[in-house]
Symmetry: C2
Subunit: 132 residues, 2 copies
DNA sequence: CCGAGTGTACCACATGTACCGGTACACACG
DNA sequence: CGTGTGTACCGGTACATGTGGTACACTCGG
C-alpha cells in the first residue's frame, strides 16, 4: 500500500494523507486520471473515520491536486493548474527565508546550506528515477 | 522599533517574537551580548501580557539564541551552540523535501526551484550587507 | 541592608480552534 | 430504486493561546 498514517504523530492524520498523496503525484506514482479509493474504502483500510479522509480530499481538491466528481469518485488532475500559485510561491519564499535564518543559528554557512539543498534535490531525483 | 506583532495573525504572537529575534540575530542587527528588553518592558511596548513575552524568551533560550541571567536580564549569546543541532538539521531536510513536492505541484522545474532558492540567498546577503 | 528591577513559577479562566467521530443527506449511475 | 459516491451538520474532546494576577528568587545599586 502507498499510504500510511500514524495516529500518534503530531501531524494530523488528514494532513499526512494530503502530504503523501502530493508526494506520490510529484514522484509520478500517481498520474493524472488515476482514481483514489473512496472515502469509506480508504477509511476502512486505515481504520479511521471517513470524515478524516473527506477532509484530506477536500484539502487536496482546494489545492487542485485531485478532482472530485460526486457519485463517481476522486481523480488526480493535471498539475500546474493551481489558482493561488502566486500566494503559494510566496509561501515557498518565506519558507526558504526561514531556512536561511535557521541555518545561521545552526552555524551553517550559506555554501553549506546550498549544498544541503542540492543534495536533497539529487536524492529526490534518484528516488524518482528508481521507482519509475 | 525592531519588533512588531500582529494579534490577528494565524501565527501565535510568541512565535512571531521568536522568529523576529532569530532573524535579527541572523542579520547581525542583534549581536552576542546585546540585551533584550525585560519581559514587562516589552510587554508594555507591545501592549500584551508579560507571560506571552516570557514564553517567547523561554523558547529562545531553549534554542540557545539568548542567555538568561536571573535578576539581570536576557542577552543574545553566541551562535552554533545548539544542542539539538542534528534534529534541527533533519527538520530542515524535511522542509526542503516538502519544498520540492510543492514546487512540482506549482509546475516548477527543479532548475527553477534551485534558482529561486539562490535568489533568496542573494537577497538575504544584500540586505544583510546593506544594514550592517 | 533595602528596594527596585529582573526572570520564573504558579494558578484560574476564557477563547478559539483543531481533530475526529456519528448521523443523515444529496448526487450519479445502472 | 439501490448502491456507491462525496458532503453537511452536529457534538465531544483535547489542546494551544492569551490574559490577569500573585508570589518567589535572584542581582545590582543605593
Amino acid at each position: 500500500m502507498w499510504l500510511r498514517v500514524d495516529a500518534r504523530s503530531s501531524e494530523p492524520m488528514y494532513q499526512q494523507i494530503v502530504d503523501q498523496v502530493k508526494a506520490r503525484v510529484a514522484e509520478g506514482l500517481l498520474k493524472p486520471g488515476d482514481r483514489l479509493p473512496s472515502v469509506r474504502e480508504l477509511a476502512g483500510m486505515l481504520t479511521i473515520n471517513h470524515n478524516t479522509i473527506a477532509k484530506a480530499y477536500q484539502e487536496l481538491e482546494r489545492q487542485r491536486v485531485i478532482e472530485v466528481v460526486r457519485g463517481r469518485g476522486t481523480f488526480i488532475c493535471e498539475t500546474g493548474q493551481a489558482w493561488d500559485a502566486e500566494a503559494r510561491r510566496q509561501a515557498m519564499v518565506d519558507t526558504m527565508r526561514k531556512l536561511v535564518v535557521e541555518a545561521h543559528h545552526l552555524g551553517m554557512d550559506e555554501t553549506e546550506l546550498l549544498r544541503l539543498f542540492q543534495r536533497v534535490l539529487a536524492q529526490w531525483r534518484e528516488q524518482r528515477e528508481g521507482e519509475t
